[in-house]
Subunit: 309 residues, 2 copies
Amino acid sequence: MAYKRTFGHIPGHPEGSTYSSRKEVQAAGLHAHEQAGISGTAKQGADAIVLNGGYPDDRDYGDEIIYTGHGGQDPNTKKQIKHQDLNDWGNAALVRSQLEGLPVRVIRGFNGDKSYSPASGYRYDGLYRVAAHWFADHEADPRFRVCQFHLIKIKDEAEAGILVDQPIETSLEEDLAQKQGPAPHKQTTVNKAVRNAEVVRRVKEWHQHRCQVCGIILQVDAGPYSQGAHIRPLGLKHGGPDMESNMLCLCPNDHVRFDNGALYITDDLKVVNALTGEVIGPLRTHPRHKIDLDHVRYHRSQLRSIPES
Amino acid sequence: MAYKRTFGHIPGHPEGSTYSSRKEVQAAGLHAHEQAGISGTAKQGADAIVLNGGYPDDRDYGDEIIYTGHGGQDPNTKKQIKHQDLNDWGNAALVRSQLEGLPVRVIRGFNGDKSYSPASGYRYDGLYRVAAHWFADHEADPRFRVCQFHLIKIKDEAEAGILVDQPIETSLEEDLAQKQGPAPHKQTTVNKAVRNAEVVRRVKEWHQHRCQVCGIILQVDAGPYSQGAHIRPLGLKHGGPDMESNMLCLCPNDHVRFDNGALYITDDLKVVNALTGEVIGPLRTHPRHKIDLDHVRYHRSQLRSIPES
């Protein structure tokens, strides 16, 4: 059965829904696998985890969880025989969810911490964000290192940047298929609980996380990191659209500068230091990334003094 | 009367408290002034605003507000006769609150939007964060520009990084007084609703917002910008202390790298690229900023492979 990967809530399966088996959890579209704890890919991120007493290193505090990653266990004895690392797709997927701010569904099973777990079967317990990851000595055998994740419940989805009123139905695979031929069987969609995750992902993919202003590709342990910056801001007053033509791929430093009046872009796509008037250089572009000059002009109109066009 | 500037809630004055006059609001410690809309300084940030129909450009949506800044009005006619800018202390204060993530108390007055304002007098309506600022044509006279602020209600103070269980009583003035002689009459304290705002402020002041890793001072329209990064993380599992000896002043790029396994610090305070092993250079230090090596070692222990010390 093809798994349709969705980030956010699954329609028809509200928080608190219960399931008698992993197979039912999988059939509901909540989690890709029948056994593995993590659902996801290194490239797309993790959409769900099952918390079911798999590691002594896990800690469950209800709204906060310390979750231990995949890998390094002997398949028969379940004992740790190797370090865990980010080459494991599951661990890499959870770090990618952290870096991209994607929500992770948490499903608790009957073997988990008694205070927060169902007495039998499995229960969907809502969306969490991955706040951090790190490596620690395995409690049962400190010769080996495990990868751990700090998950925090998302209580206010709007505050967390996760909107509920903006359905995005385009799939990443559809886009990739344009380059790679027929769409694969597996489908990825991002449901209305996540604001423009697909749009951001596409822009970052075009630029391979390279900052369009300074050209840096910021590297962290799980790979490259960048941010999607709206040119004309979303929401109140500005009403910028949630589209690729209104987004830049920026490093965090240039994102702060762009959003706070220190950089602007000219109609011929040069980047200017708004504080000195100095032209920094051309905006780095990608043939598929069409930037709408109306948004660029709108952004300029928000500066403390409007530059000559 | 000396005003004791406090960021966050004021004990004894919960959200919803009402006052018959600006004088009462001031006496409660909610706002520094009897007339000006903004309470704050360019250096410390804004701790409160009064929203009372002062500008046609204001918009009140309850949990979100578009607030228009100070300045440029003829004192007699109240007509706009000049542009607003960030040289105005009030506007600069609100931008500083945005950059530092400080909470702003919102007090609504009887002249404000009827849907959300009290019928008479003034009401304390809780804490908001400044999400953004920009400049726009003044609605009543588009020849002049006004500075505007997007405020969003803080619904989950822990989620917003504002803790309620960590009182911080040290005042900025006490610290400054060590260099400048006797403490001034005006006192600033940061109450328990704000996590370590004083600690962060002190570290940034020592380094003048210069990144301790790369040396950049990121400039935006309101001045320099940096982030306070905990060396040993706070909270679950790590339990790092909220102190200057556990904090670095970093640019956003190096903050992401430091928190995600791409940088570490040696016992002799060299910065190393954890992905390549290359020594980037010495950590920039300040004589008053003592860094606790235990925290530096703890941070290293969280990396995917523990470097030789």
